[in-house]
Symmetry: D2
């Protein structure tokens, strides 16, 4: 095996480029994965633009599909050469946060040093690949806590079929899981980008019988119908809040899922939930949010607002791959464009400008 590899590294705002880097050493609890396919996430675009800061020289990317190249001495139950994925969030399940039920928040508990009065944790505490440690847009990826995080890919599933599991699908489905869905529910999903589409599919998978997809892009609304929406609403064609209240005879929906991260969608979601309803928030907000008093029923509406960070771990990945394998959903169809790792800057160019109706790109490494 070579001593160096190609990796897409953050150089400075506006520049993510392929560089040669040493292939990492493997500690007792690590695994080295030879990446076969990865993808670019909206968060990577924020990194590219300098809107989310990472260290210069860091390899970006957090959605790995590949084969096990080398296993740490303390990692058991896997074979080298085995096809695996790992979650975008790659928790240490030994942590207090994980044992408390919040593995994605590992790294945030008990991490505060000063007495400054601010939150003692980073919003993205549990996210390591391409954030705190080198990521997946490379020929090789070092996976820490490998025993907890390596998930074997079932025979018969292609790289692209499982490529959405590590992040998009896990996040979108968590949005549906956080929405307290019961059989017969009406659920509105605000924004139908890749995560919103997965939330739409997840809401249907969990028993909602009226799933309403909301977006301004007709192409994405078509995808929404295909992946589970019973009704789609184009924000450019109607007053979505009024329309949803009309459809529900003024009651509102049982749950709304926010999948964009903006005041407008958050507020609309709040305005359409019934008394007793749930707002499941997936978006990454960049500004303070405002809760209109009326939409919040002055605090008396038996409302719930739930947020989430993408769940990881091998059991989560196993379950998501089951969904694919069972034929419930073909998430591979989300890949609209393909690039070799060498041309990843072209992929960033296309994806960051949402050209050519791109939904997700596949980056092929070997």
């Amino acid at each position: 095996m070579a001593r160096t590899m190609k990796a897409a590294v953050f150089v400075e705002p506006g520049r993510i480029e392929i560089r040669e880097k040493p292939i990492p050493e493997v500690g007792p609890n690590d695994a080295l994965i030879k990446i076969t396919t990865t993808t670019i996430c909206g968060t990577d675009v924020h990194i590219l633009r300098g809107e989310y800061a990472v260290a210069t020289g860091l390899t970006v990317g957090h959605e790995p599909v590949g084969t096990i190249e080398r296993l740490g001495s303390a990692v058991t139950g896997y074979q080298e050469g085995q096809r695996v994925i790992a979650g975008a969030i790659c928790p240490n399940f030994n942590s207090y946060a994980a044992q408390d039920g919040y593995p994605s928040q590992d790294g945030s508990y008990l991490a505060h040093q000063g007495a400054c009065g601010c939150h003692g944790y980073q919003a993205t505490a549990g996210w390591r690949f391409g954030n705190k440690i080198d990521g997946a847009q490379a020929e090789y990826l070092l996976v820490p806590d490998a025993q907890a995080n390596l998930a074997p890919v079932p025979d018969g599933l292609s790289d692209e079929q499982v490529l959405m599991c590590p992040d998009i699908m896990s996040t979108g489905f968590k949005g549906a899981e956080n929405a307290n869905i019961r059989i017969g529910d009406t659920v509105a999903v605000f924004a139908q980008g890749p995560i919103g589409l997965c939330a739409t599919a997840g809401a249907r998978l969990l028993g909602a019988t009226t799933v309403i997809g909301v977006d301004g892009n007709p192409h994405r609304l078509d995808m929404a119908r295909r992946w589970g929406a019973d009704v789609v609403l184009n924000i450019n064609d109607c007053d979505v809040v009024a329309e949803i209240m009309r459809m529900t005879q003024g009651k509102g929906v049982d749950s709304a899922i926010e999948a964009l991260g903006q005041q407008k969608t958050f507020e609309s979601a709040l305005r359409v939930i019934k008394p007793g309803g749930t707002l499941s928030s997936l978006g990454v907000y960049s500004e303070d949010l405002r809760i209109p008093m009326a939409a919040f029923a002055a605090g008396l509406g038996d409302h719930r607002i739930n947020t989430a960070l993408c769940p990881g771990g091998k059991e989560r990945m196993r379950r998501l791959m089951n969904v694919i394998q069972s034929g419930r959903l073909d998430l591979g169809a989300m890949v609209t464009h393909r690039f070799p790792l060498d041309q990843i800057t072209d992929a960033y160019e296309l994806f960051s400008h949402q050209r050519d109706n791109v939904l997700k790109v596949a980056i092929r490494t070997f």
Copy 2:
């Protein structure tokens, strides 16, 4: 029995006065209660001040303790003369909202008429006594849906011992129940008025082992200690958020309960919850709320925000009276002052200005 009765009615902003009114007729599903003791709630003060609008001539008050004077023809299982209470929120359990799990929201589901895009329900939809129908600060009270709402008072409990059950205790305890408390949790309760004190007691009753009471009033902080707080923090003596983060080694509390209804307390509650933590909100907000992005972990903190309206119904009242009867908590001790119904304007005067360290007043009717 007389044909008329005395009742405290809303006349105009600034005036709630005793008037003579007809004793109500009893329909098939109603019960007429002879009130023996009632109390004044903070909401009544808002009504008095014209900050919350009710119809002129409406009898105010929503915390009834009394005896059954007359039962509707379809109400079974009670005897006239029996001592009973009814919840401040007096739901129709036959409603869609109740069957859906939200009895306090009865009246709000399917109530929208237009297509205006606003929420089709009132924030206070499920609250009837002293809001939509005549209330409890009177000699007699007509209880609708009596079969669902009349809760017999166990022998041996005085009027004052059960006087907090209909509202203050049910609301405060709901704040604790909504906080997802597990054994060993740390819970901060922001504001220690009557509802906050009940939330404090409720948090301890549910297994929290570090209950932190926050207020600016030393007398109320003393009460907080007596009713369950392990630690009390005076907002005038320290930076409460910083102090709580220090106490929890930067992790934050498992849950925070907001019991005032202001931006300051809501925001502080949000700032001290751990990743994965719950903000249980009890306050009635009068202005839009702001969610600081950092406190909200940009939407990635696995946070939950839960709101509630006071639960009612005979089973709820039965359970709350069990708490009193078992000796777990002596909520009768919350009554600091007593007035006859005739002098209720004096009681409003004292209570609305928080004079003489008043916590709650008892209004004695007979």
Copy 3:
């Protein structure tokens, strides 16, 4: 309107016959329903055979589809002539049991009179139609607590499409709801009669990605596939427990649903659930059950066993009809045979002997 009606009454073991009976009087909280379609349930067969005792002269049947003929004086929000259904279990939602979260158990709480040490309630306490009061196999049905129990049928749905909602679908779906299903679960459903088939459909609807249908009847296994089973196992072709353990690599299934009511199926369900798994039991058992120590992991397996009685109420019916209306499932297809009310003895004959691959019969009244 006539003063009398035709009704299928229990005469003696072996005889259910059409008789003339007075059309019932309507009390303030009642509604009189003109039945257009009803069906026969397995329980009715037990009544017919004298295995389950009901009063001589009682009208049997508990699955009503019809139109409102007359409304009680206190029932609001409906119109005469409106098409409605009501649940097989028709609870009083004002009861302690309902407010405690168990409406189907209404009638059982606080019902004990003696000090005999036995359970103070009947197993079938909440079931009234065709058990404690006259039932639905008649021209007219009196529905008590009508405000809580009448569910309007959405336009466009036929009688047969909603005929399974009152009992079979509500029960089968409850079996799935009680199984703690999460996305990616493997669920085995033991027995694929009408209730088992609905449990199979419900398990899939709730996100199980490997649903295993078990039965001995090839026709029913075909239906199981059609309604959601990914895999079907014929008990005559394999050792089902061994096969399921093999399919799950020795781990067992996440949940098993028992839908027959026999030791064999109960025990098999227990033997195949994983440590931490749930056994959701729907069957009506006629004999004591035995829990094999090994299958129960000596009590150390983090197992859950949940039982249920069919949920009722208008909100439940509304949700189930949503499932039909959304096109998720065509339960009308379960009707394999049709009879007029006059020929109901023929329908009992066919259904009780499971002739001609009957699944469910429709009884047409008008």
Copy 4:
């Protein structure tokens, strides 16, 4: 440090003796604990008697209190010399079972080899100390997965105060946690041995307001009162089932906790739960159980039966120690007798025969 240590090893049925053994080597994820205090559990008595088989030469015991002697190379966040405990069940939190929510079942998932049709796991799969690997009744204990399992003891807590956390308290409290307790509940706890006493205390801590302790030993019933029972019933003085049904006016209790592991207590627990009630089972059963059809309401009672294996992990231990530290409960008072490790055979003699009103013994090692 010495190369060998004293350890209580299982020699043959009837003989557990002190032997010299090598002090274990420390792998990268291990920690070596110098035991200062440990105790004997009822399970150890079963091992002593040969009723539960372990390997000859195995060191027994699973309740360690001590100091860190040596840390594995990959274990971070601890210092040598630090006082710690570890749970009796010492899970690998990287396992599928743990990530699925059942850490105590680690070792049981995916463990089946054959196609024998039996459960592919041992009832005690997650229990390692003194079962699969050397245990805590020794001078030194090797803790695997130390990062997940070492819980620092807060300053000010003595060894005896935290000695019950690893097993008795964690198990008993889990029994209460599994009982679905809500504020105002009535809970009956069958058997008041050490685990039953902790279940009693746990039920009260979680908000039950009528806790009924059942046993035949007056001394233990006194302890039950002291630790939270509102009422105690001596099985020798009354028909406990009849008495509980009388106390609850025929309704039954909301939850019953079984803490002995016998048909009699299991069956009594089932007979006293209300429709909708929960049976939380803690006992280790040695024979098949029988479910009487009437007590089970023929499967129609909306009943839940939950079993559990003692939870472990550092977060669990941290929470339990919080309970002690907050002064909610003084579990150190459960220690009635003390022995040095050298005299552990005397301790077994006393404890196994329940002499001298022994509840728990402390074994002091250094």
